[in-house]
């Protein structure tokens, strides 16, 4: 009795736990938000936040749930972006087909890279993924016949069945829909046997294996899934911005993505969305501080990790749950 009433009480916190309620709430936010947008700049920041959220939702599956670090996810993002751009610009593929093909290609790359390096743990895995990211960024910067080198390359606009996406409104709708799809997929995975396997191998690989979980297989799978999310966001970014440079694969960018996941809250899909959104919007809001911008930004990050150690969403929802019990 006690157990079931407690479960009901937890279910009442629909926004903090799960699938249907949380996604409905996120959908509502995405739909209502533009009412407060004064101009195109707001749309631009919201679209950037949405794209970062898509990457972080995937990266959180790897870092937050499976407990495996990656300092090279900007590499997958850039491969998705350049893959889509190259196929569409140089070979004249329809943009949507180019995007799907690039994402599939990245999945294959992630599988081949993940198989050997996910045997590594902790710092060694961090180094290996970092190495991967650096290699991608060097290749993109130096193969200038194909990619335009450090100067970047032009990307044709996104078109599907005769409709060309150009306006901020259209891109806001596309990115919003993709974000909702990403959250839906991620939450599905989390609440499946695979999701439990990931959380299990995060805590104890021996106990997970004793339960029959093939740890290497599950690690590689989630690595591929997170790379696919990053690559899809990369492709969308390329079409949205119309221009890409190798800096999209930089190490700083990879670290930024990990920071977003940790800031929002590990092992919380909605935390990843909050983290990505806050850390995308905050620097824009802090520009009024001019030269103090970075110092204040850093101080806010440190304060958050000191006072909300598990990240914004898990710590706050934990406090709220305790308050109502």
């Amino acid at each position: 009795m006690r157990a079931s009433s407690r479960a009901d009480a937890r279910r009442a916190w629909w926004w903090a736990t799960p699938r249907s309620g949380g996604i409905a709430a996120l959908g509502l936010v995405v739909a209502v938000l533009p009412l407060g947008f004064a101009n195109g700049y707001f749309y631009d920041v919201a679209i950037q936040a949405g794209l970062n959220s898509i990457i972080c939702v995937g990266l959180n599956l790897l870092i937050g749930y499976a407990g495996q670090i990656s300092l090279g996810h900007a590499g997958f993002f850039a491969l998705g972006a350049y893959g889509s751009a190259l196929l569409a610009a140089r070979y004249g593929w329809p943009p949507s087909l180019a995007l799907v093909t690039a994402v599939a290609g990245v999945a294959l790359v992630a599988y081949c890279v993940g198989r050997p390096i996910l045997r590594l743990k902790g710092h060694y895995l961090a180094m290996a993924t970092l190495g991967f990211g650096v290699i991608v960024s060097i290749v993109l910067a130096n193969d200038d016949r194909l990619t335009g080198g450090p100067d970047g390359m032009q990307v044709p606009p996104f078109a599907l069945a005769g409709y060309v996406a150009r306006s901020d409104h259209a891109w806001y709708a596309i990115v919003g829909a993709c974000l909702l799809a990403a959250v839906w997929l991620a939450q599905n995975l989390v609440e499946s046997p695979t999701g439990r396997a990931l959380r299990a191998l995060h805590t104890s690989e021996v106990a997970a294996a004793i339960a029959g979980i093939d740890c290497p297989r599950h690690k590689v799978n989630v690595f591929v899934v997170s790379a696919v999310f990053a690559a899809a966001a990369g492709g969308l970014t390329a079409y949205y911005a119309g221009f890409i440079t190798p800096s999209s694969a930089s190490f700083v960018r990879s670290v930024e993505l990990v920071t977003m996941v940790v800031f929002g809250g590990m092992a919380s899909t909605f935390g990843a969305v909050v983290g990505a959104t806050v850390l995308t919007v905050l620097p824009q809001a802090l520009t009024v501080l001019k030269e103090y911008e970075l110092a204040v930004f850093g101080a806010l990050l440190m304060a958050t990790m000191v006072f909300l150690p598990r990240g914004v969403v898990p710590t706050l929802s934990g406090l709220l749950q305790r308050g109502t019990r």
């Binding site: 157990a3 407690r6 599905n188 046997p193 439990r196 959380r199 021996v206 294996a209 339960a211 029959g212």
Partner: protein, 260 residues
């Protein structure tokens, strides 16, 4: 009928022979205890029998199927489950999720059905949940179903590990000191549970220091000392073996041993 056959098993760590040329057999649906002084190699043996350690020599067969050298999850898939001496509970999950994780081998774990939450998967999840709740009830843990594991008391966590191991429906269950740290009442409950498991056809391999428990439930006892077989037989045979008394109490005057 599952029979575990171990032959010539050897495991060394550097120069230390943790297990040396050990051979024995475990018959199906019996309670088989492994005892011995501290450092005799009992936990090392369990780690070998579950694939956690790779032996330097020897073989492990379950029903004639060679398992030596297979990855840990393949030992589990062959039907060997276990609990740990030092708890290996998934502390980032609820008790229910811990047990459901134990059902991994009985679940469909394809990536695409999971991402798309197909109706088939949803149905399997409901069944899995029912089964896990049943096991929690069986072990008297239903009150903790939705509690996070890190908020549960020690005795409950010990039973939670057993529930998780049983969720995989193992043919052979290895229990590493299930009664350690439990009071006599809780230890007696574990004894009852072990008997019930054996009667339902599960082979139980028990490593335990609580001699009242071991002598009460075992069909067969293997005594280890320094990684070798010291003695083997029924509870009565092992209890009266002077070598066993010597290993546990040190060399004893034969006159005193006669009275023991």
């Amino acid at each position: 009928m599952s029979t575990l056959a171990v032959s010539g098993l050897t495991k060394t760590f550097g120069g230390v022979h943790a297990i040396e040329d050990l051979s024995f057999e475990i018959r199906a649906a019996t309670v088989h205890s492994i005892i011995g002084p501290n450092g005799a190699g009992k936990t090392t043996l369990l780690n070998l029998l579950t694939g956690v350690y790779l032996p330097n020599a020897g073989s492990i067969r379950l029903d004639g199927r060679e398992l030596t050298g297979a990855p840990v999850h393949a030992f589990a898939a062959a039907g060997i489950g276990r609990t740990f001496q030092n708890l290996q509970v998934f502390f980032n999950m609820s008790a229910l999720d811990n047990v459901m994780t134990g059902r991994h081998l009985r679940e469909r774990c394809g990536l695409l059905p999971a991402l798309l939450h197909t109706p088939g998967l949803a149905r399997a999840e409901r069944e899995s949940r029912e089964c896990a709740l049943g096991l929690l009830r069986f072990l008297g843990l239903e009150a903790y179903a939705d509690a996070c594991a890190d908020a549960m008391p020690y005795g409950a966590l010990k039973r939670l590990e057993i529930a998780r191991a049983l969720a995989g429906e193992p043919r052979m269950l290895l229990l590493d000191e299930p009664a350690a740290g439990l009071n006599p009442t809780e230890a007696a409950e574990i004894a009852g549970l072990i008997r019930r498991l054996a009667e339902s056809g599960t082979t139980v391999v028990l490593v335990e220091h609580n001699m009242r428990l071991v002598m009460g439930v075992s069909d067969h006892i293997l005594v280890l000392d320094y990684g070798r077989r010291l003695s083997e037989g029924t509870a009565a045979q092992v209890r009266d073996d002077p070598r066993v008394i010597e290993a546990y109490l040190g060399a004893v005057d034969t006159r005193v041993a006669g009275h023991a």
